[in-house]
Symmetry: C3
Subunit: 492 residues, 3 copies
């Protein structure tokens, strides 16, 4: 049975100044249990399998060959003949890739902090496990209930993971400076705001945002930045020595980076229409990210006085291309168009990490731990703009009968492509507004001294909330002293 070695007092003297305030013994269980029980009750009352999941309903569809109830299936198929046509087969592989991005990608990307790895992966895990359940309810409510019930299937699983992504982006902005209780509270509100914003954009304004440049990245980043501004810590420099990486923590973070980079094509294409749309979105994202990577390496070297690459850039900025084609990915962006967008995103992102973040910290008091403004904020806005422009120039010539999958209202002649572009632009403004206003309100809620947040002197430290074993070095020294003691004993 595993027994964690207690952290040696010698090396962790300063960290053991955790007090009753940060003690999670009651706070965390109370919030976890209350939230989970509420979720169970609400699911019991409100949630049902949809007709691709429910045994009776699916087999009714098979027997009667009628797929009329199907919701987000793009080009409507007239009849369902076989189990092979269950939406599971056409969405689940993409879902799994999204899932890996949420749990491994985000979780390990944030392990760059040398003494916050447990919290990065662990709190990412907790926040996500809660958020995807709460998002299922919030989004289900807004996407439309049938007969007073929310019907769920693989597509709701994807959408819930998308919403969770926004919460984790915000977590990245405040990383190292909050308690897990604060993060769960933030998630409660952020998920709700996300669902409202998503509803306004997609259902009311009729915007398109398949990969969430606006709904996920812009929203998550500016919400998180606002929260971190409200929670500004004047003495955070006392924890400065821990707000950095060590050699192997940078390698752990690369696990996160690479999984995010590889699976982003699945992320952006996960809820696009079946057929050419999913195919095209995956390809646009793939090329955008490749170009972004080249740009990132070039920019990282050129902005360093000694030309040395900065792992922060490689870990983060190389991903900006995925964010920047989130909106336009399903459009006829063209391969080279995707590459241009990715290339620009990489340049903007590295410049942000190098020059803008320090300024934002010093002048605007925004302590953005992961630099989410450079990976999700600015590239998200770029993605929204690219989406607006690409939408505005859409035409029947380019899209043929595929127009109705991407721009249904334009295809039906209800609006012009230019107006679709305007919708996209308005959506960006709405998103920014929701993020900033929501971030202020939630930020002040989180400022209440009831959550067990760490003091400025011991941020970025796992030891507050986790039983932390010693390092190998301590283990060796302990071994040495064990051996010495045994020798002494034998020689006595």
């Amino acid at each position: 049975m595993v027994e964690p070695q207690p952290a040696s007092p010698r090396l962790n003297g300063e960290e053991n100044m955790t007090g009753a305030e940060t003690n999670m013994r009651l706070k965390l269980p109370i919030i976890c249990f209350i939230l989970q029980i509420i979720l169970i009750i609400l699911f019991g009352v409100l949630v049902q399998y949809n007709d691709e999941v429910d045994a009776r309903e699916w087999h009714d569809k098979l027997d009667h060959g009628n797929k009329s109830h199907s919701e987000h299936n793009g080009h409507p198929e007239s009849k369902v003949h076989s189990n092979y046509e269950n939406d599971f087969y056409y969405r689940y592989p993409s879902f799994q890739d999204v899932h890996v991005m949420i749990f491994i990608g985000f979780g390990f990307l944030m392990t760059f902090l040398q003494r916050y790895g447990f919290s990065s992966v662990g709190f990412n895990f907790l926040i996500a496990a809660f958020s995807l359940q709460w998002a299922t309810l919030m989004q289900g409510f807004f996407h439309g209930m049938h007969a007073g019930k929310i019907h769920i299937g693989v597509e709701s699983m994807i959408n819930a993971d998308f919403c969770t992504g926004a919460v984790l982006i915000s977590f990245g902005a405040v990383l190292g400076k909050t308690s897990p209780v604060q993060m769960l509270v933030m998630a409660v509100f952020e998920v709700t705001l996300f669902a409202i914003n998503e509803f306004i954009l997609l259902s009311i304004l009729g915007a398109k945002d398949a990969g969430g440049s606006m709904t996920i990245h812009t929203f998550g980043a500016y919400f998180g930045l606002t929260v971190t501004r409200v929670l500004y810590r004047p003495n955070l420099d006392k924890s400065k020595h821990k707000n950095c990486s060590v050699y192997h923590s940078d390698l752990f973070a690369m696990i996160g980076t690479i999984f995010l980079w590889m699976f982003w094509p699945s992320f952006n294409s996960a809820i696009t229409a079946h057929g050419d749309d999913q195919h095209r979105t995956a390809m646009n994202t793939y090329y955008s990210l490749a170009a972004c990577t080249l740009a990132t390496y070039g920019m990282s070297a050129i902005t360093a006085h000694d030309g040395k690459l900065d792992m922060v850039h490689i870990q983060n900025a190389a991903l900006a291309g995925g964010v920047a084609v989130g909106t336009a990915g399903e459009m006829m962006l063209t391969p080279f168009g995707s590459m241009i967008v990715g290339f620009l995103a990489g340049i903007i992102s590295v410049l942000g990490y190098k020059y803008l973040s320090p300024i934002m910290e010093e002048k605007l008091k925004i302590q953005d731990t992961c630099g989410v403004h450079n990976l999700h904020g600015m590239p998200g806005v770029l993605g929204a703009i690219v989406g607006a422009v690409t939408a505005a120039v859409a035409s029947k010539d380019i899209y043929g009968n595929g127009m109705e999958d991407v721009f249904p209202d334009v295809a039906e002649g209800d609006i012009t492509a230019s107006y679709q572009g305007v919708r996209q632009a308005i959506s960006l403004a709405v998103t920014l507004g929701m993020a900033l206003v929501g971030g202020v309100i939630v930020g002040f809620l989180l400022k209440l001294p009831i959550y067990g947040a760490p003091p400025d002197t011991i941020c970025f430290e796992d030891n507050i909330y986790w039983e932390v074993p010693g390092d190998e070095e301590e283990a060796h020294q302990d071994k040495a002293s064990v051996r010495m003691t045994e020798t002494e004993r034998l020689n006595a």
Copy 2:
């Protein structure tokens, strides 16, 4: 060319007491080569591609449009029109997720041990590579041979990985205390017993256990616990200082945990019927695991005197929800039902890790390294019970024509749903019996002093079986002495 640095004698003095007994120079090659050659011969005589894999047979099916030979395809499709209907496309993505769970999930989860990472990942790799081949034969034999041959396809690959999972669970119980030769011998017998038990449950008793709560988890756990009891080591406390984690080994273990957690929906749904069954099983598992995670974090904090989270709980107990819906996952468990099950599983699992395992070690002399009783044993039994209850209340109202995929005998009116529940309960008892009796027999076989197992003083140590390089610290010190030597030389 890479040359591993020899482990420094200073720090590893006590570990270099490896003797001729643990020398693998002949034992391991002999068993690896003999087993592999036997496998090759048996495959040569007995194994063929099935008609979805064989070039001639598949194209015959295509040309004649008749899919009458298809074995486990659920709802029988009347005609095969196209290569797109090859079962490969509807099983392989799930297979790959299962494969990742077996090799990355189990392999890295066990790297929490600070000096046993090579053996954890490495022996997991070896045991699995052997077991999946042997399982293909054993399960093929029991699933039914046609014309004296075992026909294989992607579904047999999944089933072989499932069987391997049980062996790896048992490996977790004895982790750190055995030689690789012992583990291969254990696998030879355990795979056979697994196949027999699976046959009794699924083919004779007619039970359902798609995700293996009984066949994989309950069986693997209690078999392994019995073996570890037989192999009780009275002086294991001498290795106590190594039976624990260090900071980065806990992060490596989280790689395993997160991949297991994310892919469990694929695991539980991998061999269910096509269509709604696979879809539903994946969703039930997803919600069970999410609720389990919330419960795990809450319980971990509340059971700690200082409220600090224990990585052991997060790494293991958060997965119990997947085990607990292994049987019922394909049933109409409902989303909130799945959450309740997962929530309970998390609570039980943490309580097990915290309170039961120490008691089992002290009173029952069961030295359960990974705490498999808490992740696979008790949650497996819970899963069997949940399955029995859910089966017993099944009705045509709930399942409609989908009943025949999940409970074919009930659908055909041969038995009542209550009786199906009884079958499930009997299956649990049979599984426990097989595991305990089999574990005793195999345990005593493994007690023979011929396998090169480590003595009590040097368990949980890679150095016995692996060439282990130094740590970075030693490397720095060696560098320092190299530099000093060069300076001295230059100054001479």
Copy 3:
């Protein structure tokens, strides 16, 4: 905001002898930007979506039900009725597995080097991001342009990743001894040579090589070995102490190994014909790798004087089975046939690592960092031979109407199976010739002292090209001195 701690001068004194020559401040940005801009321009002029990706074209196909333009779809489907028949669904899951092998598999496998992890993962990332774009153009040109355009889809993404694999294999041969600029230059030429060789083999000679035993592994290995011979470093032993692993770097490398091993079935089957071919290729690869693993463990133990397993063997040789069935994987190799091939491959590979590589280094002056000759070189040649033999004995009896997917020319009676075997053998010779000649030419190009390559004394060191943070040990010591300073200050 993350601030990397500067590497402590005390421990890294010798590494800080990086001069203006290795300074990447201009070299790397220039080549990255120039290459990317050229790529963007060429893509803009030459590259279009194919008719499974383009909105207009796909919907035209749907409406007219005619799939006549489809290129590499194997058995031609007569009509396209539904979005579900988009090639995306039948290739993308395999593509993602290949992608993981390229970025995680190769990237992390090479992190075994104790101080070269950033460069291994990081330069792998950069080289691959460039190569897949350039390969899209090169291969598109040779695969045939329509109306002066290269049409791309998921299959071109797979083929581009395949070509990238060859470049990364070559990178493995020179790992630790080059600058990123050199690697990009190498990639420019190697991708072109790969595309030419692939065209000669597949289109002119009519050989089959679905998993690239010849086009990827043989070519990549011998090209890389030739380059590393030309770039021979007489004083490389001065960096010897860094050309090795430490405990946790070996664990990071196992992440790479295991992902490569698990996903190789997808790699070998990714571009085979739909239906039984993909299914069969995946299974052949799975069994070959399992047998290879058993052989590797046996050989590793028996070749060690103390019987201890060598991580180098487990990390690399266990994969040789995948390489060795690259060509024959889609053929009717039979399960036991695959196991025999894998078993042989494992034996050959370990013998290579143990005995051949030292000889090649000493006698032939080939400094093969990753031992690519043992994993890709010899097993690649074995794979070519196995493919030639298996092709030569193909018959209508065995393949039935499936012959036309695997050996179209034999199926149509244009040539005999024996002649197909001859084609395969000639292809091996052509590949070796291309690799050796190409390697010499490119090797001398890379010998020019303009790329900022490191001197012999500081190879295998990240510090040259990366901002490297300190280790945890240094961080602890820094913490200690910070605390001491504060105490002194307080006591002043």
